[in-house]
Symmetry: C2
Subunit: 418 residues, 2 copies
Amino acid sequence: MKKVFATIITIGDELLIGQVIDTNSAWIAQELNKIGVSVKHRIAVGDVYDDIWNALNEESKQADIILITGGLGPTADDITKPLLCDYFGGKMIMHQPTLDYITDLFEKKFKRPMIDRNRKQAEVPDVCTVLKNERGTAPGMLFEKDEKIFIALPGVPHEMKWIMHNEVLNIISQNFKTGFIEHRTLLTAGIGESYLAEMIKDFEEKIQSNIKLAYLPNDGMIRLRLTGFSNDKNKLVETIDTLFSTLKNLVKEYLVVDEDISLEAVIGKLLKERKQTIATAESCTGGYIAHLLTSIPGSSAYYEGSVVSYSYAVKEEVLNVKNITLNTVGAVSEETVCEMVKNVMQLMKTDYAIAVSGIMGPDGGTHEKPVGTAWVAVASKYKIISKKFHFRFDRTRNIQLTATNALNLMRQLIVDNR
Amino acid sequence: MKKVFATIITIGDELLIGQVIDTNSAWIAQELNKIGVSVKHRIAVGDVYDDIWNALNEESKQADIILITGGLGPTADDITKPLLCDYFGGKMIMHQPTLDYITDLFEKKFKRPMIDRNRKQAEVPDVCTVLKNERGTAPGMLFEKDEKIFIALPGVPHEMKWIMHNEVLNIISQNFKTGFIEHRTLLTAGIGESYLAEMIKDFEEKIQSNIKLAYLPNDGMIRLRLTGFSNDKNKLVETIDTLFSTLKNLVKEYLVVDEDISLEAVIGKLLKERKQTIATAESCTGGYIAHLLTSIPGSSAYYEGSVVSYSYAVKEEVLNVKNITLNTVGAVSEETVCEMVKNVMQLMKTDYAIAVSGIMGPDGGTHEKPVGTAWVAVASKYKIISKKFHFRFDRTRNIQLTATNALNLMRQLIVDNR
């Protein structure tokens, strides 16, 4: 059985001038991977007829499945549909089921008159199979040529995802005999990439050729991922699981979690298992830690809330940080974060709490407390741990790093508290 | 003067299996655009020798500048450097200034011993110009071939950005005579893409050929962007400014802002001008609105803080929402958000406040209050406006849409309050 390759072509000038970040491609790649399809290329081209045409020619030489997103909207810069019609030698026709669906949508859901532009969304090349889109007015389209399949989807993420899940993935599974791809991922913290590589050098050299090891640094932590490809699923799972156990053991000192999940999800799992609760008190991260914790479905089971105390006044009046503390050692200090963490835990009656206070930049730094200084405190009922960090990056990254490090300190305290 | 084209090649298996989202390309594209370079393609390839080699061949046919990121790290999956050495026919040599810099870094900053792997980071092909990296241990590299330039940068975003700003952009400006690119962007809210297109149809048809109009839908709002290219900067600016005035006037009913800035930045500007302050009380968005507002540098001038009241207890005890309100109409209700908004404004002594409460999913929906239901209230000292929304998407998107719509309601209230 040979590998099945896909290529993802994203269309839109906004991708080439950097006005939007392409999140679609990563999502599509993940989904294709799950059904055993390897993505060979991802390419972004502008709303330019010849560039799109050339990309279709080039990419179809290398891949079995060509997935195209974007350019299917109702406005003049959306040229993908007529181009595909030309490319596959068809002519545009009205697709009645789509028209009925759009008409119904305007009558019953949008409750506004349908204009000619909306009607045109139901026109498709007569050489395609229409893929239903229950999330919007632009249907997906499937074309076949020289044993390759071409799938065109709208660029709006939730519409694209709906069509992928409800139409595309089934079609691909039915049309291609794919091998199996397995991933195993673990997350480490507190060790640099070079040291980690040194630590597992012997292991890495002995890995069999159908399995790859990748280092993925992110937010001051490093993920290690094993990826295997094989036609024999059982054997692959056995091999990769054995390797993964060895790897986990080698890095156990720095291991955060042996799944591909986020730190906030790890904390969520720990708290759920223990039936315990958490609160946060955030100054410099401005609600970002709360946001991360509540991005996890079901977080209301363990997350009580946060006081985002951006000003001195809120620190004093809502969080009861002592005026003398703020006026002597200042808001960015061990004393302040320790008061914050104790008080928020009391205020919200939780088992644990996190507090942070720092200077994220670009302004506000002093000689003693330069931009990037952050104090973090984590607390259980029995213990408070505080730590000072100094990050050297821009505002966005300093906020992310403060949040990640605070969450990791919290995770350690929960684990040690068992 | 002809257009100067660039292509961006990002290298790494993690991009093809969708484990990380590529934010580098968008950033690079923006920076190149500012100096008059158009990005023709963006392509992502895996850590596969032949695929990278082929991408270099293909892309250099189409572009003048080939920018490569990723694969320069110290581990075995980082194959870009030896490959580039082969591609440009060089041999690896030790680059003394880089070695001195890395040695110094380990001695003075990291304060840990340097291992052989770190030392190897200072080896470069003898056919390249080394681009200094003060943010990490992997230097950038510049190669020239057939009047094209090839630039290889590390994939870690803050390292890549540092080298771009301190080395690459100057080199490009010195080596290429670029034309001028100008963008004008405005943001609209409360109107669909088709209607907007209909509204400005006549305008769109009359735009001269060197200027393009793009529609960029995002979070339930639509951005319109005019992009012009010319060798005559003054004339271009004049033309595009005239067009932009006309466009603003055509959409004025739905205009949020006539710059390419975020809604939270708009609110920040308004509050700074008025020397007024704001607080938030968030249930379902879990701190995301606070995070957006505090992501703006200097937001401490107007942002006081937030109570993230995820649980009933915090709503009652910290925000003083009446027990009877919670027990009769529930947390997701007009009454609750109105109490939340009034109380947080009082608690934090601000001029304005935002409060939200909803059910973001995937669980927690009922027949009366299905997943996606969100109540928003915004308040000034004189007025409270509340509104119910019903979003139909996944948790992440429901949170984003709740936040965006709450911020837009707030913006309108501030503007009307003048």
